[in-house]
């Protein structure tokens, strides 16, 4: 009956620096991360935790071929590794990716938790900005959780889901048409509640809208593929599973937008978990394949309510297609129950609520919000942003070509509590809060208790001078005469239920590993 849908988010942040001309974006990103590390004691004397790139295979494709530039990647040297990477006691990874700070959440079981962890990342980076400003007087760093710069560049908000190896092989490798009938139409249409909203488009389109639902839609170019910076695919086929491949696979999605609204974020993750579980349990049999999936992504983003063509000749709206997935999910809940998906009842109820809300939503031809009886404006980023932009248009002319509309589009995503527009809207009670502030604060310090992230985080917290490397699937310890590695090939192992007593009772990592070893030998 499917497997738990462990999930993680990798969020790249846009960086804007003022007041110091001599720092490149790469240097500025490293500066922020290392200032935070120094100030918070994560780089105390004797602490040198490397990120282990040994399990990264960016050129390996799940379809069995090595594509692109080469079959290997350059590994940073030890000092560069330390400069770029900061594994955190909450199980997350904070690092510099090209020229962006990137926050990869720890592995979570629930949509609520992963959104709380993602928001904990916002808080941590917000602290890093404060520390950076103090350290370099006169500097002004800003970070934005969004996906495009209005100058033709995009950066990701990637999602990773654990999937049963057999189903993954079936849908994405052996018979990708099965994914074309199920997962692809689901992902293309979920933007109606998961889109972050965007002024304008990337390419001049005859029928382009001045405001669209999704930030990433215009950047999607193919259905399946290995790339992330060009020829961007709806489903990324990177063969890097960070778990025992015989049992588990990773579904790596790069189509999604960065959400600020909790409701939209939790719904995006929760419904995707459900769709994958329906696939694993062979519960989706209707062929919903789209005539032209890549065009459909853009069409829905620009014209939410227009019908799109299916390969069987039908024409359905994105809401219609989402309704079909919701109906199957409700049926599954009745027949089997989503036992592996926490808060499944909430996700189903909210899915129904969102679709009802969108069906009742009325926009004018000029994109004014005429009717919103279910207050989706409080819940969906693209609508909240549209409301905000329209307020500005009220006093500054009706047009969509005002440069300040693009400024507001970007500043909505500024994570500063003082300067960010979304933060202000939330403080004013204009946004439906789903994830509690206490939970977010907790995940700034602690890993989620129910995955291997607990083991990784606790080791970094309790034995920082003994850990010499980590990645998603291993923790390595320096025990003087010998280095010892603890593999974490099952993302569900190493959780607090299994490990809490050990961490409470072991004074160092040697004792911890010896106790684990003795227990394994006994079994």
């Amino acid at each position: 009956m499917g497997i738990p849908k462990v999930v993680g988010i990798e969020q790249e942040y846009a960086l804007n620096v003022r007041g110091i001309a001599e720092l490149s974006p790469f240097q500025a990103s490293c500066f922020l991360i290392n200032s935070f590390a120094d100030k918070t004691g994560l780089r105390a004397p004797g602490v040198r935790i490397l990120w282990d790139y040994g399990h990264e295979t960016p050129f390996r494709d799940i379809r069995g071929k090595l594509f692109s530039k080469g079959a290997s990647q350059e590994m940073p040297g030890e000092e560069e590794n330390l400069r770029i990477n900061l594994p955190l006691p909450n199980g997350a990874r904070l690092y510099t990716d090209h020229a962006h700070p990137e926050y990869s959440t720890p592995e979570c079981l629930s949509a609520m938790d992963v959104v709380a962890c993602d928001k904990a990342g916002e808080q941590i980076l917000s602290q890093a900005i404060g520390i950076g400003r103090q350290t370099l007087p006169g500097s002004d760093f800003s970070l934005f959780k969004n996906n495009m710069d209005h100058q033709g560049h995009s950066y990701g908000s990637h999602e990773n889901y654990l999937m049963d190896a057999r189903a993954h092989q079936d849908y994405l490798v052996k018979d990708p048409h099965k994914a074309q009938c199920t997962l692809i139409p689901f992902l293309i249409t979920r933007q109606i509640f998961a889109g972050a909203g965007k002024v304008g488009g990337e390419h001049s389109r005859v029928d382009g809208s001045p405001y669209q639902v999704s930030q990433r839609a215009d950047f999607m170019e193919t259905v399946f593929g290995l790339e992330t910076m060009y020829a961007r695919p709806i489903v990324n086929t990177r063969g890097e599973h960070h778990a025992d491949e015989k049992r588990f696979r990773r579904v790596h999605l790069i189509i999604g937008d960065a959400n600020m609204c909790d409701f939209a974020a939790v719904l995006k993750i929760g419904t995707t978990q459900m769709c994958l579980q329906l696939m694993e349990d062979d519960f989706l049999h209707e062929d919903l394949s789209l005539m032209d999936p890549v065009s459909a992504v853009k069409q829905i983003s620009h014209h939410l309510f227009r019908a799109i063509a299916l390969t069987d000749g039908r024409e359905l709206s994105a809401i219609d297609i989402q309704r079909k997935f919701l109906e199957k999910a409700l049926e599954y809940q009745r027949v089997n129950g989503f036992s592996h998906i926490p808060a499944a009842a909430w996700i189903l109820e909210s899915w129904e609520y969102a679709l009802q809300g969108l069906e009742a939503l009325k926009l004018t031809a000029d994109l004014r919000i005429e009717e919103d009886p279910l207050e989706m404006t409080r819940r969906l980023d693209w609508l909240l942003k549209l409301w905000l932009l329209n307020r500005y248009r009220n006093d500054n002319g009706d047009g969509w070509d005002l440069p300040n509309l693009r400024v507001l589009d970007l500043q909505y995503h500024n994570i500063s509590q003082d300067q960010g527009i979304f933060a202000r809207l939330r403080r004013e009670g204009l946004v439906e809060g789903i994830v509690g502030e206490q939970q977010i604060s907790r995940f700034e310090k602690e890993a989620p208790p129910d995955t291997r992230a607990h083991f990784r985080g606790k080791c970094i917290e309790k034995y920082p001078q003994e850990v010499y490397l980590v990645n998603w699937e291993v923790v390595g310890f320096d025990h003087g005469e010998v280095n010892r590695l603890v593999p974490l090939l099952n993302p569900l192992d190493g959780n607090s239920r299994q490990m809490q007593d050990l961490f409470d009772n072991c004074s160092d990592s040697k004792e911890l590993i010896n106790t684990i070893q003795a227990s394994a030998d006994k079994d």
């Binding site: 804007n16 960016p58 990716d97 090209h98 020229a99 962006h100 990137e102 079981l109 629930s110 609520m112 938790d113 959104v115 709380a116 710069d149 209005h150 560049h153 950066y155 990701g156 992330t228 910076m229 409701f263 808060a343 909430w346 109820e349 129904e352 609520y353 009802q356 809300g357 919000i369 005429e370 009717e371 919103d372 009886p373 279910l374 207050e375 404006t377 909240l384 307020r391 500005y392 009220n394 006093d395 440069p403 300040n404 693009r406 400024v407 507001l408 970007l410 500043q411 527009i421 202000r424 809207l425 004013e428 009670g429 204009l430 946004v431 439906e432 809060g433 789903i434 994830v435 509690g436």
Partner: protein, 65 residues
């Protein structure tokens, strides 16, 4: 699992003017809400002023993976 606040049961509400859409129960705009919206507009003006004309140009990003 995270703390949760459950979404209200779907129910249709009175049509609202766009200007007040995200404010709960705003069929008639109270003085308090008017004040809040005015403050929000002032905040937005401050954000735009601080960003300045150069912001869009200097925001150029390098793409990431």
């Amino acid at each position: 699992m995270a703390e949760q606040r459950f979404a209200p049961k779907p129910k249709k509400k009175d049509k609202k003017k766009e200007e007040t859409a995200p404010l709960q129960g705003a069929s008639a705009i109270s003085e308090e809400k008017k004040r809040k919206l005015q403050e929000l507009d002032q905040f937005i003006d401050g954000v735009l002023e601080q960003a300045g004309e150069e912001f869009l140009h200097e925001f150029k990003q390098i793409e990431g993976e």
